[in-house]
Symmetry: C4
Subunit: 213 residues, 4 copies
Amino acid sequence: MSTLEALWTELADVKDELALRDWFPGTSGNLSIKVSDDPLNFLVTASGKDKRRRTNEDFLLVDAEGIAVDPTHLRASAETGLHAKVYQLTDAGCCLHVHTVDNNVISELYGDEGQITFRGQELIKAFNIWEEDGAITVPIIENYADLKTLAECFGTVIGPDTRAVLIRNHGITVWGRSGFEAKKHLEALEFLFSYHIKLKSLQKLHDGQPSLI
Amino acid sequence: MSTLEALWTELADVKDELALRDWFPGTSGNLSIKVSDDPLNFLVTASGKDKRRRTNEDFLLVDAEGIAVDPTHLRASAETGLHAKVYQLTDAGCCLHVHTVDNNVISELYGDEGQITFRGQELIKAFNIWEEDGAITVPIIENYADLKTLAECFGTVIGPDTRAVLIRNHGITVWGRSGFEAKKHLEALEFLFSYHIKLKSLQKLHDGQPSLI
Amino acid sequence: MSTLEALWTELADVKDELALRDWFPGTSGNLSIKVSDDPLNFLVTASGKDKRRRTNEDFLLVDAEGIAVDPTHLRASAETGLHAKVYQLTDAGCCLHVHTVDNNVISELYGDEGQITFRGQELIKAFNIWEEDGAITVPIIENYADLKTLAECFGTVIGPDTRAVLIRNHGITVWGRSGFEAKKHLEALEFLFSYHIKLKSLQKLHDGQPSLI
Amino acid sequence: MSTLEALWTELADVKDELALRDWFPGTSGNLSIKVSDDPLNFLVTASGKDKRRRTNEDFLLVDAEGIAVDPTHLRASAETGLHAKVYQLTDAGCCLHVHTVDNNVISELYGDEGQITFRGQELIKAFNIWEEDGAITVPIIENYADLKTLAECFGTVIGPDTRAVLIRNHGITVWGRSGFEAKKHLEALEFLFSYHIKLKSLQKLHDGQPSLI
């Protein structure tokens, strides 16, 4: 199996697993995996597919501009530009964009504040953060309809410790050095989002309990 | 495989997928797919089946009046008239009716207002709406026990941009040009309903946050 | 396949489906199917099994007293007496007892009132109730530790229209003429419980909305 | 099949089942099964694995100090010390550590009180508690970053009736004499946690209802 085939399989396996969780509602979401750095080439989701099916037209190889490397009738996902940004600004090898009810709720609840920070949670170790008072911050940006404006704004919030960006009412984009690590980061964040929402809905009901997060 | 067989398989696949999500509680729900326009013929769910099983008696071919085209011992779903309305008034090729806890909760919460509108959500693109301030409105009608009255009322709320109708405490009816598109619309609406309910349950708990939707 | 084998298979299929939904937490729950009326014989769950496994020791044949008909090392479920009551007092052919978070929450919320009634819900048709203002009432009894007292109290609340009984913080017992009908009744009630809980958690947050159920 | 192979299979089966429920988010969680008492040897999860995959490198055999019994490139889970404590202080044969949203929410809501007690719930019988007013108490300890301090604190809260310990925002550790019993205890507790959270979120909305748990 060539490297390209191995990376295709790695990405398709991640897609299958996320699809099983229903994390691509209404054909939303897209995924990519880096194939080469110089020039930047990556496999990215073809547009408009049913992500519960596994076919040999699920991904196509594109360059840093999101242009298909080989002639194809497939159209790269409209959000390919966000994936390119991630590969240009970080050490990511794989990048996932999914919508869940909980990540969209968090993006709206904290959209005005522009970020959400988690600390004091064991799951933070999924980001290889081991300090006693370690914290993970996820920036939240507005959902600009113009995809070029969106990609630019997206790029400005990615710092050295950023592993994910929430777009307001437009899901999360998360990455890691491999498909395995990207999925680990995504699972940990979704857990933290769900935990936060559930705790928040209870905190005013628990007598004498101060704000919990 | 004949066209009829291909359409049967398309509908059966959609049914399997929705059944896996438990969207047919208590044998509720029904599905149809259009076979011909003139005269109108469509495959529709036979009444009272366990929708988790896949059998060759799951559907029957009916005409615009809901009458079986060929002699059969099968009884068409009691709500076949709603499906006929959809094919007569829209460009639908497939029509799905399902009950979920969340679509019923939305139908009751907004039943008096007669509709619910979503805007500012990326998932709206599932309806091929790309404008910056695009919106999708779902009418909500009362659940008349008389099925003829129900079908008439149902027909009156379907406009050129309507893709779905909620019946109060009686699930959602949603359509698309194909099984794939109908399912895409359904998934997107269920996502929006769940998102709305979860956000609503939190909004009064978030200091200084105005009404969010 | 003999009648007994056919009934065993029917019950095992229902068990598999409910187990997939995680409706037997901590090995709780039990199921039965009637084999003969005179004398009353029914297959009932053997005690303490992992209900996610399908084995040929999952059920045993017992009589009206819950005594094994044939010599066996298996022990009938401690709650076999409730199943016997159902067969003696109704036309049930199959009886299911399961714990879900939502049925236990409903049993506690309405335990003092001794019952919960649903009306104005399409899902009520799962109970073959078609009137415009039809209603389904589920009695709720206290969870007596003494199983004989529990069975007696259980018997006193079963009227001609009763299809299920909630025991306070001890799950639901529901029945139907066949495995298919018992499962249909169970699914419809679980849907109504979940709907009620979700709507209730929102109703005070919706301005100007009166009590909804 | 040797005893070691049988125990490996038992543990791998439990892992598969918990993984299907998504109870190992972000590669969190770990499991072990006792192989011998004198000296204490047990199979424990290798660090950092994707628990949805089943491989022959999922577990390794360690001693009471958590040191690998045979030469291996595998690293034992960082929390192996907690498993050793359980085997030293109880009659456990299998020990499970998982994160769920609900067990973490409970650990935070009741962290200051240092424990949570359930009574009046049928599911308590999963712990072989049959008295009418039986109760099960789960201690909650702080999540010390230093694993040695954590293990010591963990050991101090384990009494003769303890079957599980919650670590604040760090999941639950639960045990039983076998994999089957450990899983039964875990399922019962997760059910009780989910029930408690859902009931709590409703209790202030139910007129005239006193504090329910």
